[in-house]
Symmetry: C2
DNA sequence: GATGCTATTGAGTGTGCGACCAATAAGCAA
DNA sequence: TTGCTTATTGGTCGCACACTCAATAGCATC
C-alpha cells in the first residue's frame, strides 16, 4: 500500500457533516486561533477535500463566526452553567473565579482577544462577538440576581455589577500570551476582590467556600449532533 | 503622460530611509492594524519597491515588532509624558484618564489587542509587547510615586496600584471594536474609580481637576522630514 | 566631469489562501 | 438490481504574501 490516501468517500447527512465541520472549527479556534480555520485545515482534519467545506460554508467567514460562537458558548456553559441546581450562587460564583484564574482559562482568554481583534475586519464575526458578550453579561447577571434574591449578595444594579466583574476578567485575560508570573497578589486576586466589593461581600467570601455538592463537569459535551441550526 | 509611475529613484541615507519606513509602518499599525504592515503596503506608501523594505528588514516580522514599539511608545508619551513639569501628579493622572476615555484612544486599544493577539504567533513581537507593558507600568508607577511623595496619593504599593489601574483600562479597552454606547456609568467610570480607590482619593478627585497650566500637546508631531507624500 | 560605492530596482520563486464548477460515486428508494 | 438524487471530489483560477538576487543608477567624492 503506497499510502493512506483516502480511497473511499464517505457520504454523510448534511446535518451531521455540517455539525462535524463546525465542531472541528471550534476546536481549532480554541487551540490554535481563528485564523487557522482555513478550508484546507478543516478539510484535512476531517479527511475530506476543501471543496466540501466550501459547499457547506460558501463564505469561509461564516464558518469562522460560527466556530467562535460554538466555542464561546461551550466555554461559558462550562464556566458558569445556565442551570445551577447543585449549589448556591456563592458557590457557583466561587467556582467561576477559580476556573477563570486557572491555566485552562488561557485558551478562552486568547480566543476572546483573537475574536475581538479579528472582528475589526470581519463584520459577521463582530456581530457574534457582541452577541456572546451579551450572553456572558446575562449569565453572570442571572447568578448575581439569584444571590441578591437569596440575600447572599447586595447590589442595586446586578447588571452593572456583572459588567464590572467581566471588565476586570477581560483586563486580566489580556495578557494570556504574555508572562504573568510576577504579578502582585492584589492583581491576581482582582476579579474576586472586585466581585466581593460590588456584591457587598466580606474579604474571602468567594474564595473560602465549600465546593459544589455535585460538581458539574469542567467541560460540557458539545451536544452530539442531530440539531445545530443554520448559521448566517 | 500615461501615469504617475515613479520615474526617478530617490536615494536616501540608510538611517533616514529606515526611520521613514518604521514611521510609516507605525502609522499603518495604529490606523489599520499590524497585519496591514506588508512589504507592498509600506513600499506603496513610500513610493518605493517592496524589495527595498526587505533590504532594511530582511524579516518582515522585525518591522512589525519595531512598528509596534514605536507606535506604542509614542502613544504612551502622548498620554502620560515622562517629564511632567507643568502640573501635579493629580493633574497629569486626570488628563491621562480623560484621554483614555476619549474616542481617540480606540486606536490605541485596538493596537494593543492586535499586538497581544499577534504575539501569540510572533515571538519577536511578544518580547516587544512585554517590554511596552513594563514601560506602561513604570510610567504610571512613577506618577503615582510622585503623588505619594507629595502627599496627594496614599498607597503602600505604587506598582500594584499602577497595574490594577492598567488592568481596568485594558479591560475597558477590550471592546474597542464593539459598541459600548449603553454601558452603565459605573462601568464607564471604572478606571477613574479604581484609581481613586487604590490611591486613597475621594470620589471626583480625578475628574474635577484644573487643567494643566501649559497643556502638553495631545499628539507629538512625528518629525515631518520634508516629504511624506501619500497617505493611503 | 569621471569614478566608485551602494541604495534601489525589476524580475522571479514558492507558498497559502478563498472561490468556483463540472464530473463522480455513495447510498437510498423503487 | 436498477436508477436517481446529491454529497463529494479534483482540478483550476486569481490573488496576496515574504523572500532572493543580479542589474541599475543616484550621488558624494575626487
Amino acid at each position: 500500500m503506497s499510502s493512506s490516501v483516502q480511497r473511499k468517500r464517505i457520504r454523510k447527512s448534511p446535518e451531521a457533516r455540517r455539525a462535524e465541520i463546525v465542531e472541528t472549527a471550534a476546536r481549532v479556534a480554541l487551540t490554535e486561533g481563528l485564523e487557522c480555520i482555513t478550508l484546507r485545515r478543516i478539510a484535512d482534519e476531517l479527511a475530506v477535500r476543501p471543496g466540501l467545506i466550501s459547499h457547506y460554508f460558501p463564505s469561509a467567514e461564516d464558518l469562522v463566526a460560527e466556530a467562535f460562537s460554538v466555542a464561546s458558548t461551550g466555554e461559558l456553559d462550562a464556566l458558569l452553567p445556565a442551570e445551577r441546581p447543585h449549589g448556591t450562587p456563592t458557590q457557583y460564583l466561587a467556582r467561576y473565579f477559580a476556573l477563570s484564574a486557572g491555566d485552562a482559562y488561557d485558551d478562552i482568554s486568547r480566543l476572546w482577544i483573537n475574536a475581538r481583534h479579528l472582528s475589526r475586519y470581519r463584520p459577521v464575526l463582530r456581530d457574534r462577538v457582541a452577541e456572546q458578550e451579551l450572553a456572558s453579561d446575562d449569565r453572570l447577571q442571572a447568578v448575581i440576581q439569584d444571590g441578591v434574591d437569596s440575600g447572599e449578595f447586595r447590589t442595586d444594579d446586578p447588571r452593572a455589577a456583572a459588567i464590572q466583574i467581566l471588565v476586570v476578567i477581560d483586563g486580566l485575560g489580556a495578557h494570556a500570551s504574555t508572562d504573568r508570573s510576577n504579578r502582585p497578589e492584589a492583581v491576581t486576586r482582582m476579579a474576586v476582590t472586585t466581585a466581593e466589593r460590588v456584591l457587598g461581600l466580606p474579604y474571602g467570601a468567594l474564595t473560602e467556600v465549600p465546593a459544589l455538592t455535585e460538581p458539574t463537569p469542567a467541560r460540557a459535551e458539545p451536544t452530539p449532533t442531530v440539531d445545530s441550526p443554520d448559521p448566517s
